[in-house]
Amino acid sequence: MEVARCSRHGSAEGYLEYVTTLPKPRGPLGVAVLNALADAPTREVPRIDVAPESPDDAALTLWVLHELSYGGFDEVDDDAESDPELMRVRRRLERDLEADLRRRWPGVPEGVELGTGFFDWVADQDGPSLARFVQAQATEDQVLDLLRVRSVYHLKEADPTTWVIPRLPTAAKAALVELQYDEYGVGDPARLHSHLFARGLEASGLRPEPGAYVDEAPLEILEQNNALSMFGLRRRLRGAAVGHLAAFEATSSLPSRRMAQGLERLGFPAEMVSYYTEHVEADAVHEQVALRDICVSLVAAEPAQEPEVWFGAWACLDLENRTATRLLSAWGAAA
């Protein structure tokens, strides 16, 4: 008998383990937390009561504390993730971030049915679009700026939402795993979305290791990442996590096409272009699964989660609008 070896899976060789280093603190709270991390476990974490000096100080510190639950840092003890004092600081920063978001949130939209009205509601929340700017006008340097700060999320793409899986009822759980399986490359490490982005960065002459460009990330980028991690890591916020996912996917397919066209216009390498073209079709599917099979299923099983789904969806769009406004104004482009 002859069996042809025909694997659709790529080789796992060549998937480098990167060195990840702590970013620079942005204020006294960051200094206190980063010093404590560098000293652990040789020295017990001292009580940290210093208040964040600025939104940047708070956001960078929370980003570092969340990162301990993802890949961590080479120079930091793995056990620091659950140090009670660091958990207390993280909880305080998350409470402030959530309170800030809830203060800005206009509330559940009136007269909009989640299952049938969600996509039109998303379309009506139209804000400034980085993808349109990249498609038609951005310079190569501006696109490199964008790729660097987007890497903070894209290099751990889908990971924050994976935390939610065990917190969902049956139907929503099955659907989320189905969606995440596609995000994670359908068993092929070469198709993993975060890996596609890393390959694109490398081909574009940028650094592919996680967190390489955190020091350059403006407040708005850090807040996007922090909100997503907070929604994922706290079971109470599971509705917001899947609402965020649905809004994210619903605003990805067409913008990804525009990004791909802009990258082609500027002569970016095929690896970077193909990261975005992959998302055109993938996210046209994911938005349907995320809304109908995840959000609507969750709300059917747990009706009290509906306002939370809307809150998470709104937070996703609001935080992206703030990022777009910030970057476009930094480039002197009309927001």
Partner: protein
């Protein structure tokens, strides 16, 4: 329209396209640039042209 699992879609010209994802979305508005797959183009069509 969503297809779950492995399917082969035959387009109007008789060309066969195999699904490569756990779930695939098939274009129903006829305007996708990635036919037979959906690429989200239906969203920019006037409401009466959307399937």
């Amino acid at each position: 329209m969503l297809l779950r699992g492995d399917h082969v879609v035959r387009d109007d010209d008789g060309v066969e396209h195999r699904t490569t994802r756990p779930v695939s979305a098939v274009c129903r508005c006829g305007k996708s640039a990635s036919k037979p797959w959906c690429d989200g183009t239906h969203k920019v069509l006037p409401a009466k042209l959307r399937p």
